[in-house]
Amino acid sequence: GCFVFKPSSKKRRWSEKTAHDFRSASSDSEDTELRFVTCQSLWNQIKSETEQIQEDLNKQLLDNLMSFLSRSHSNFQEKTAEWTCRMKFREIPTAALVLGVNVTDHDLTFRGLSDVLQDNITPYVALLEAKDCSGIKNLMQKLMGQLMNCDIDVDSLEDEDCVQVSPNRIRCSMPSLISWYDSATKKTDSGTPSKKRNSSSRHWQSPPVVVIFKDIESFTTKVLQDFIVISSQHIHELPLVLIFGIATSPMIIHRLLPHSVSSLLCIELFQSLSCKEHLSTIIDKLLLTSQFPFKLGEKVLQVLINIFLYHDFSVKNFIKGFQLCIVEHFYSQPLSVLCCHLVDIKKRVYSLSHDQCENIRRLLSFRRYVEKQESGKQIELLTNDSALKGETEKLLEDLHVYHENYISILRCLHVFTSSLPKYPLGKQIRELHCACLENRVWETEEYESSLQLARMLNKTDLVTMLQQCVGILVSSSGKEFDKTVEKLKEFLTQFQKLEEASQERDVSVSSQKELQKKTDLYHLQKTLLELKESRKSKKLTKFEMLRFEVVDYIDSLVRKYLVPADDRTLHEIVYFNTAAVLRGHLNAAPRTALHTALNNPYWYLKNQALKCDGGGISNKAPDICIVYKLHLECGRLINLVDWLEAFSTVVMAAEEPVADAASSDQVDDIIHARFIRAVSELELLGFIKPSKQKTDHVARLTWGGC
């Protein structure tokens, strides 16, 4: 499956347009083309990577489903005359597929499922959605349309004329479906030899007809019941398999179907991976890897994760958000040309224009870096472009190395923190990642407390963790870890030695105990007291010493490698950190926007005349704004006459500062019309509605004022 489904021609047009947009909007036009190309290729890489990940994640589920489907109608052709088969009621095999509440992701799963089904089991797959199936008639129509079309697709070249029946002509009933099925399966049997080989290799003689109900919750009970009752009567002629896509819990089946209907089904449960695990895998494979040059800043990542956890649980939306970050980064940051793979950096750095060099000099992190250099080098970096380019290349390579090391050490640290009680630094690696990106992790309280806890770990845990760390570091791509691995292995051997030593000591202690047994009670008490004394004053055991050493070593690794990215020079090039933009795009707030527009029209209109406004109501504002502001001061029911009077006062205030006393009680017709228009606009926006309680009043639909 994939995420963006646009016909290829359309997409090309779209991308050309975007390239143009990139050019026109940004100030320096030189690198836009390259930036756009880089952005596209990066996104394509990420896209294919995510598709791969998702395929792998769904594999288990799909395999289970496949085996269920192939099992479900295995005895269909055999027509066994066995007693049990004759006596047993033929139930419709049904897979209850629990997919979780992230409905937006389901499409992908279903598409993958139907692809796999069509490749391996049966060409006859129908996907039904509740919105298309308001009645049993619509359902049958949809079902037959999909099934018969798919048949045409399968052998469109050879015999189009005999299958070509428009869905309106055929009768939407089960017998016509069965006769279609018979003819379709018979045809594949008696087809040309080549075709037969082709079909029999993939499907059996009588492939099952799979009907997928995408969202079982939204189907009406009656439609489902009728369909199940009808199809159960024909199960002998039509090998039907149902798949229910369930978003909540499988209990919904019992809620939707009465026992008399659910007893016609043979329901097996399949559960997909939880979306949180899905997200963890995605983050693990997309963000915590040095494979892609583009990185997310802490705030941006937090926004994306928050939307996921707080709002929709949708991995698809998460990836869309990630895509938005990429596009936004390449669009807004001119230096993002350099956000590319290591091999291209040299070429790109040396082809930078002078303007771009100036851009680099303007970067905050680079300025910090320059200030630290000695004065001679400072001048060179700030004046000589080629020196700057050389330095930039070196810095970017450093940044790359930093990422590689960062990820490995982060994983090691996660090994430790994820097993501590209460998880002071978070259970998931993403939380740890955010904490490390945010600021120096070793300065936080949580880190301190987790070190404290780590100093209390028992030996077996510690040893397994160290072994895991060694595994991570050995498999990592960083080059600096040879020494670290050695050191860790040394720790491990020390632990090993310690174990042997302690065993010996155990023997000696037990012998000592033997001795003690023979003494009398008084002596025993005395010796015990002495022992206690000695234990109090005794230094730490060897194990404890070693444990401290290990923890300190880990701490030093953290301090060395887990420096927050903001501290690195040139981090602006690869990190996207403008969370506000992202939030504005993804977290739309319609009510707030509407309120801002009506309350403070200057925000959107940018008309200087509207600006002066403090708290009062300006008469220069559009009529609807005035009406809106006035209505904020009212209670639940608004008297139209009062409202009109207030409106006309506000409008008149500026036009005729000294209003005529005589004409004041008669409202101008034009103002009246303007008022009515503004009020009906408000009604359209859903702020008010006509009230039945009092004829000359309108009811307020929003709250907050009173």
Partner: protein, 433 residues
């Protein structure tokens, strides 16, 4: 045992029929006497009702096929529109006696057409001298079609002026069918439920060829002992009998007991059947899974049923929205101020009131509440500030599509939509944890 007797039909056929319809002899003989001889006009319409699986469809079908009476058998659930139904009757009519497979598709939109085409079909197929039976199964569906369908079927004999009898089969009583405008009253007939003795007799009738009838009858006896309390559905019982018979035979197959060793067999099967009642019968686990379990000799405890997976994982704000919706549905509006405002006062009284009201509110079921109240409660139960973003609103809609909330009234969405919370207290408790 009342023997079926009718001068019009050969005795051998009747005897055969009698063996096929055990425990329904009196109904069959009654039907036969209504039908009369082949050429005689019968009652225009017969209405047969009885509980699920009391043999209505089966008896009618066997009766008509064994005696080779010309008939059309249609299930009204399957042919859900009047057009489909009428066309199906006509096409079956074409093929029922002509014998030729080639049936041209008939087009019949109205009852008027139907009567005309029906007359043609009957005339062309030399059926005038025999009574034609049209059996409409699940006839309660007819009520949902056009208003003229049911009355017309009831007096089809008169309308077509042909020898035809319409038989309606249904699970509900005739009183619920009778249209307001009045109609021809059919002859109504009741099929009573099978008693336990009947069930025993019918179920033991087809025993597996490998085992003796007595052995199987003993098994059925045990099965009914367990299941009769909860299930009297013959189909279901037969299904269950077939599912569990292998387990019953196990000791015999292994040679641990012989077929007469009823006590031992009972000890073996009884707990198994009880487990089956809690799982397979309720469709908690499917029958194929059950068979596999039996085959592998595993414990059914390993397989979790459908109801074991009640937990629903929800996003953070969805949880709060659902809790807020629950509170809004079950708390009266006037208590909102006390519960959700910071300075409410009178705590003691509130607690007392709450306890008193809670029981009654839960019995009354959820009450609808407007969107604004839901949001107000949400803002007060969530600790940090919640921006009213589109994400929050779309979550409400998705909760509705998940059927955790439901909209009340079909009014315009701009007009202050109202919702109801449809989940139970247990569900909310699980979420709130």
């Amino acid at each position: 045992m009342p023997n079926l007797e009718h001068p019009a039909y050969p005795a051998a056929d009747l005897l055969h029929l009698e063996s096929l319809v055990p425990c329904r002899e009196s109904q069959v003989s009654m039907l036969l006497s209504i039908f009369g001889e082949r050429h005689q006009f019968s009652f225009p319409s017969i209405f047969i009702y009885g509980h699920t699986s009391s043999g209505k469809t089966y008896v009618m079908q066997t009766l008509l096929t064994t005696l080779q009476l010309p008939h059309v058998f249609v299930n009204c659930v399957e042919y859900f529109t009047s057009r489909l139904l009428l066309e199906e009757i006509l096409s079956q009519l074409q093929s029922c006696s002509s014998g030729t497979e080639q049936t041209s598709p008939v087009h019949c939109d109205t009852l008027n057409d139907f009567v005309r085409l029906f007359k043609q079909a009957v005339a062309s197929q030399e059926l005038q001298d025999q009574t034609l039976y049209i059996v409409l199964d699940r006839a309660e569906q007819l009520r949902e079609m056009e208003a003229n369908i049911l009355p017309a079927f009831l007096r089809l004999q008169e309308l077509t002026d042909r020898n035809v009898t319409v038989v309606l089969l249904s699970e509900i009583v005739w009183e619920l069918f009778r249209p307001n405008i009045g109609c021809f009253e059919p002859f109504t007939m009741y099929f009573p439920d099978y008693s336990i003795g009947h069930l025993q007799k019918i179920l033991s009738q087809n025993h597996p060829p490998e085992y003796s009838a007595d052995f199987y009858a003993a098994y059925i006896n045990i099965l009914l002992g367990v299941f009769y309390m909860v299930c009297r559905d013959l189909k279901e019982l037969r299904h269950l009998a077939a599912l569990n018979f292998a387990k019953y035979c196990e000791p015999v197959v292994r040679g641990e007991a012989n077929e007469r060793d009823t006590r031992k067999l009972w000890k073996n099967i009884e707990p198994h059947l009880k487990k089956a009642m809690q799982t397979v019968y309720l469709r908690e686990i499917s029958s194929s899974q059950w068979e596999r379990l039996q085959h592998d000799g595993g414990e059914p405890g390993q397989l979790k049923g459908l109801s074991a997976h009640t937990h629903v994982e929800l996003p953070y704000y969805s949880k709060f929205l659902l809790i807020a919706a629950y509170l809004a549905s079950y708390n009266p509006v006037r208590t909102d101020k006390r519960f959700f405002l910071k300075h409410h006062g009178k705590i003691r009284k509130t607690n007392f009131m709450k306890k008193h009201e809670k029981t009654s509110n839960h019995l009354l079921g959820p009450k609808p509440f407007p969107l604004d109240r839901l949001l107000a409660i949400l803002y007060s139960i969530v600790d940090n500030r919640v921006a009213p973003t589109a994400n929050i609103f779309s979550q409400i809609t998705s909760l509705v599509t998940l059927q955790l909330l439901s909209t009340v009234g079909q009014s315009d969405q701009l007009d202050g939509p109202r919702y109801k919370c449809t989940v139970s207290l247990d569900f909310i408790r699980a979420i709130a944890r």
